[in-house]
Symmetry: C2
Subunit: 569 residues, 2 copies
C-alpha cells in the first residue's frame, strides 16, 4: 500500500479533549476521527488493527468450542421488559420508538436475546454444554464518554453466553472462557491481571475481570503481595482483625469543637490521629431509608460493598438537609452514640478504642467512645481497600494498588435469566430445570486503545506484531529513480510473501517520514537511500528500539527473508 493512496493524514494537533495517550496518538496518526461524543470513525489504519484483534478473538472463541451467532442490535422492548431491565438499565439504555409507536432499544448487552434463543433451541441436557458468541456493535448512553476509544457510546464487543445443566458444568464453561481470554490477551501482547469483580447490572453470582495494567486506567485494583488474591477495589475486602489492645476504656466526654467539621480539622484541633476518629456518614438506600455508616477516619467507604451489606442495588450519600434532619446537627457533627436509626459499623471502626465521634450537635464531638459500650450497630466489612492494607485471604500479605483498564469480564450468571424467561431443559429423567448460564465480554474496539496505553513512547505508538496495521514501513529518501525502483521491488516482493507493507512514497523530507513512522508505530522500518543502496544495502530499524540512531544495514537482496524472520520471531 502506498502512503499516498491510504487515506492517511497524520496531524500535529492533539484533540482538545485528549487525556489519554491512546486517544492522542490514534487521532494524530489518523487511525480514528471523532464524529460525536463517544462516536468515532475508524479510518483504514485503525480498522486494520480492529480487524486483526477481531480475528484473534474469533479464532480463540472458535478454538474454545463456542459457536458464533449474530443477534440484532436494535431490539423490541419486550425482552428487556421480561427480564426487568427495561427499567433497570436506567439512562444508559438507548430507547426509541418506531413509526408505529412501539418501544425499541439498542442492545447494550444481549442476555435476554440469547436466553430467548436458548429457550427455543435448547431442549435437552444432551444439547449442552453450549456457548454462543457474537462480535457485534453495542450501544450504551454512557454518562461521560471519554478517552477516545476507551469509553464510547458505540463500540465493538465480543459477548459470549454459556448454557449448562448444572453449576459445576457452568464453572467448567467459565474456566474454558478464562483460558480463552488468557490466550487472547497474551496474543495481543497485553500485560493484564485477572481480578475478582462486581457483577453489576449483569446480576451474576461469580465474576472476574481481566484488567490491563495501565497507570492511567480508570479502574482501581488491589492485589496481595503474598498470595494470588486480586480484586477490583470496588469489591476488595481487607482483613480487619483487632490489633492486641491493652488500653483502658476512658469515660466519654462532650467537647466543644467550634467550626471543626472535617476529620482533618477535628484531629488537628484535638491532636489525635485520623485512625482514632470513627467517622459517621449518612447514606440513603434504594428505599429511602437513612443509614449511618461508621468507618475509621483514615478509611473510605466502599459503596459497592455497602450496598451489598444493605442488600440494595445502589446507595448514595444523604443530602445536607437529610443529614440535618436525621442528626439535628450541621454536616460534620454526626455520630453514632445518640443516633436514632440504623447504624452499620465497619469492622475496623469497631476496634477503635476511646475514639472521637460527632455529637449530633453542631460544634460538639464526643471523646472516649467505644463500640459496644457507647454505641452499637451491625458490624460489616465496607472499607475501601488501599495500599498496605492486610490481605483478607492470607496471613501477613499486604495489598498493593494498581490501576487498570477492563479488557474482559467473565461471569457465572446462574439461573437468573433462564428462570425469568423460562429457558428450561429436560434432564435424563425428563424433569425440567432452568439452564445454568454464564456470560463473557470483551470490548474489542476498546482493546485498540488499551494496547496503545501499554505500548507507546514519547514519539508514538508501538504496535505488537500480531495486530500492527502493517508489518513493514518503507521510507524512501529522495526521488532518485534507482531508489524508487528498489522500493517498488521490495514492496511488491513483500506483498507477494504475504507481508503487509506501507510505503511512504510522499514527497517529504526524511525527517518528516521518520517522525510519522514513529507515530504510526509499525514494527519494522526499512529505509532506502541512494548511498546505502549503492553498496547493496538498506537500513532496518525496529520500532521497539529506543535509540533513533541504532539502525542495522542489511543486504537489499535478502531483505524479504530478513524481515520475514524478524516478523515471525
Amino acid at each position: 500500500m502506498l502512503f499516498s493512496r491510504a487515506l492517511l493524514t497524520t496531524v500535529k494537533e492533539a484533540p482538545a479533549d485528549a487525556a489519554n495517550a491512546s486517544h492522542l496518538l490514534l487521532t494524530r496518526a489518523g487511525f480514528i476521527r471523532r464524529v460525536g461524543a463517544g462516536m468515532y470513525d475508524f479510518l483504514p489504519l485503525g480498522l486494520r488493527v480492529l480487524h486483526k484483534i477481531t480475528r484473534i478473538v474469533r479464532e480463540e472463541m472458535d478454538r474454545s468450542g463456542a459457536l458464533e451467532v449474530l443477534m440484532p442490535a436494535l431490539l423490541p422492548a419486550e425482552y428487556y421488559k421480561e427480564s426487568g431491565r427495561w427499567d433497570g438499565f436506567g439512562d444508559t439504555l438507548f430507547r426509541l420508538k418506531d413509526r408505529k409507536g412501539s418501544d425499541l432499544h439498542l442492545g447494550p448487552t444481549h442476555e435476554e436475546i440469547v436466553t430467548d434463543i436458548a429457550r427455543r433451541e435448547i431442549r435437552s441436557y444432551r444439547d449442552m454444554p453450549k456457548n454462543l458468541y457474537q462480535i457485534q456493535t453495542k450501544f450504551r448512553d454512557e454518562p461521560r464518554p471519554r478517552g477516545g476509544l476507551l469509553r464510547t457510546r458505540e463500540f465493538l464487543m465480543k459477548d459470549a453466553y454459556s448454557f449448562d445443566t448444572t453449576e459445576q458444568a457452568a464453572l467448567a464453561s467459565f474456566e474454558r472462557m478464562r483460558v480463552a481470554y488468557c490466550r487472547i490477551f497474551d496474543r495481543l501482547g497485553l500485560m493484564y491481571r485477572m481480578v475478582a469483580a462486581d457483577s453489576g447490572a449483569m446480576g451474576g453470582s461469580m465474576s472476574a475481570e481481566f484488567q490491563a495494567l495501565v497507570e492511567s486506567g480508570e479502574d482501581a485494583i488491589v492485589a496481595c503481595d503474598t498470595c494470588d488474591y486480586a480484586a477490583n477495589v470496588e469489591i476488595a475486602t481487607v482483613q480487619s482483625s483487632p490489633s492486641a489492645q491493652d488500653i483502658a476504656l476512658e469515660p466519654t466526654q462532650r467537647v466543644h469543637t467550634p467550626g471543626q467539621g472535617t476529620i482533618d480539622e477535628v484531629t488537628a484541633f484535638l491532636g489525635i490521629a485520623p485512625a482514632q476518629m470513627p467517622k459517621s456518614l449518612l447514606y440513603v438506600g434504594e428505599h429511602g431509608e437513612i443509614v449511618m455508616v461508621v468507618v475509621r477516619g483514615d478509611h473510605a467507604v466502599n459503596e459497592v460493598l455497602l450496598a451489598r451489606a444493605l442488600g440494595v442495588a445502589e446507595v448514595s450519600l444523604a443530602t445536607e438537609a437529610d443529614v440535618k434532619k436525621a442528626t439535628g446537627a450541621a454536616v460534620g457533627f454526626a455520630g453514632p452514640t445518640t443516633f436514632q436509626g440504623r447504624i452499620v459499623v465497619d469492622r475496623a471502626a469497631s476496634h477503635v478504642r476511646n475514639g472521637v465521634v460527632g455529637g449530633n450537635e453542631t460544634d460538639y464531638h464526643i471523646t472516649g467512645v467505644n463500640y459496644g459500650r457507647d454505641f452499637t450497630g451491625d458490624i460489616v466489612d465496607v472499607r475501601l481497600a488501599a495500599t498496605g492494607d492486610p490481605c483478607s485471604r492470607c496471613e501477613g500479605g499486604k495489598l498493593a494498588s494498581y490501576r487498570g483498564i477492563e479488557a474482559g469480564h467473565i461471569f457465572v450468571l446462574g439461573t437468573h435469566y433462564s428462570t425469568k424467561m423460562g429457558a428450561m431443559f429436560s434432564d435424563e429423567r425428563q424433569e425440567s430445570h432452568p439452564i445454568w448460564m454464564g456470560c463473557y465480554g470483551i470490548g474489542v474496539s476498546r482493546l485498540v486503545a488499551t494496547v496503545i496505553e501499554q505500548h507507546h513512547d514519547d514519539n508514538g505508538m508501538r504496535w505488537p506484531n500480531a495486530i500492527a496495521p502493517y508489518d513493514v514501513y518503507i521510507v524512501t529518501v529522495g526521488k532518485d529513480a534507482p531508489v524508487l525502483e528498489a522500493a517498488r521491488k521490495l514492496h511488491d516482493a513483500l506483498e507477494e510473501r504475504g507481508i503487509e507493507v506501507l510505503w511512504d512514497d510522499r514527497d517529504e523530507r526524511p525527517g518528516v517520514k521518520f517522525k510519522d513512522a514513529d507515530l504510526i508505530g509499525i514494527p519494522w522500518r526499512v529505509t532506502l537511500g541512494a548511498k546505502a543502496l549503492a553498496t547493496g544495502n538498506v537500513e532496518l530499524k525496529a520500532r521497539s528500539e529506543p535509540d533513533p540512531k541504532k539502525v542495522e544495514l542489511i543486504p537489499v537482496a535478502s531483505a524479504v527473508e530478513t524481515l520475514r524472520a524478524r516478523i515471525r520471531a
Copy 2:
C-alpha cells in the same frame, strides 16, 4: 462440526408470515430466527453464509482499490441536518435522544458522514481518486418489513463512496464499481441484470440497479428484446410516437352515462376500446397543488415519472373530496375539457383521436374529444411501461417484463453533498472545487435470502459452493462402530484439508437425515452405511442432482480427494 454440537434445529412448521421461499427455508433449516418485526438472529449456519458473502464482497472491493473504513451506526443529528435529510428522510429514519436530550439517529446510509471524512482528509486533487467503503449494520424503519431477510429494519450493508475531481473521473469510478459488482454477483452464483434506476432519496444524477431475477421479486423491471435497454419500471420510458392516423375529427358531444364511472363501465356502455378513452386522474403534488393527469385508458400512471415531470419528490392521488371539489362531479367523471387547473397529458393520450373523457359532471362523458382542439396541457411521458410496449431507445424493439430483487445499486451523486457540506479540493492551480462523489450499495444480509430465492427446490435450499455454510454433509446410517469410526476419520481428514464438513451424528433414521440434508442444502452429501463400507465405498450425491436415487459409489479411501476435486470444479 458435529450436527449435535452445531445449534442446529430444523423445524417442520413454516413461519406464519412466510411468503417467500427464502424466508420459509432459512427459518425451517435453522439459519435465522425472528426476534421482532424485521429483526432476525443469525444462528450459526446462517452466519457462516453471511460471513462468506461478506468475504467475497470485501475481496472484490479491495481488489477494486477501495479502502475499508468503519463509521458509527449511531449518529448525532447535525450531519443530516446539514444535508437536509434529517427532515427529508421521513419516518424511515430511526430518531432518538440521548440522556442529555440531544438528537441522534441510526444510520440508514452514510453519505453525510463520509462527506465529513472527505472534507477533513481530502484536500488536493492529488488525494483522488479515492473510494471508501464499509461493511456495516444499517437501520431503516421500513413501513412494511417482510420476506424474512429480504426487507428488514436492521441489515448488513456494504456501502462505498467514491471521490473524484471531475465528472469524467467520477464516471470512471462508477465503472470500476460496476465491474466489481459484476464480479461479486458472479461469484455468488446470481442471475442478475443491471438496469437503469431511480436515484430516490440519494439525490443522485445517474443510477443503476443490479436486479437479481426472481419471479417473486418486489421490483418490476422491463428490458428491451432488441437493444440493451433495461430499467426499473419506476423510471422506464416507452416510445409513444403517433401511429399514422388519417381519421376525421368528430365534433364533441355530451352523453349521458348514468353510474358508469370506471373505464370498464364506460367502454362497455359506449362500445369503445379502453385505448380510445383518455382517463383523467387527479394528483396532489408536494405543495398541495391539484394536477390533472391524462393517460390512455389502457395505460397506467408511473408516479415516479410523474413526480419528476412535476418537479416534486412525491405525488399522491387526490382524495374523493378533493376530486369533487376540483371537478364538481363524482369520482369517475373528471375530464380535461372544462377542468380549471393544471393539466399534464401523457404523450400517448395526446395522440388519441375522437376520444371519450369525463364531463366534470356526474353521469356525463364527452365524446369526440381531441387534444389541441378540445383540451390542452403539458405533454409528458408518464405512462407505466409494460410488456409489449415499444422500446424508447431503439426502433422496433419491444419491452418484456421481469421481476427482480435489488441486489446492488450504484449512483453518481455529483457534487450535491460536497457542495452542501463544503467538501472541497484544490486543483493544480490552487482553485477550489466541490468533490465529485458516487455511492454504491449492496445489501449483504439480503443476499443470503436472494441467493436462496434463485437456488432452491421443493425439498430445500441449494447453496452455491462459494457460500455454502459447509462443503460436505456426512450422513451416518445406523450406529455400527465401524461406520462411526469411518465417519470420524473422513470428517477429520476433510477438516485437515480445509474442507468444511457437517456430520449428521444424530440418532435419527436415514430418511430424517436425508430430508434435513436437502433442506439445509450443503452442496455434497456423503452417506456412510455398513453395506457399502464393507466393499470399501461410500455414497456421494450432489445437492444439485434432482433425482434422489442418483447416488454415486466412491471408494472411501479416495473420498477426500474426490470431494476436493468436486468442490473446486
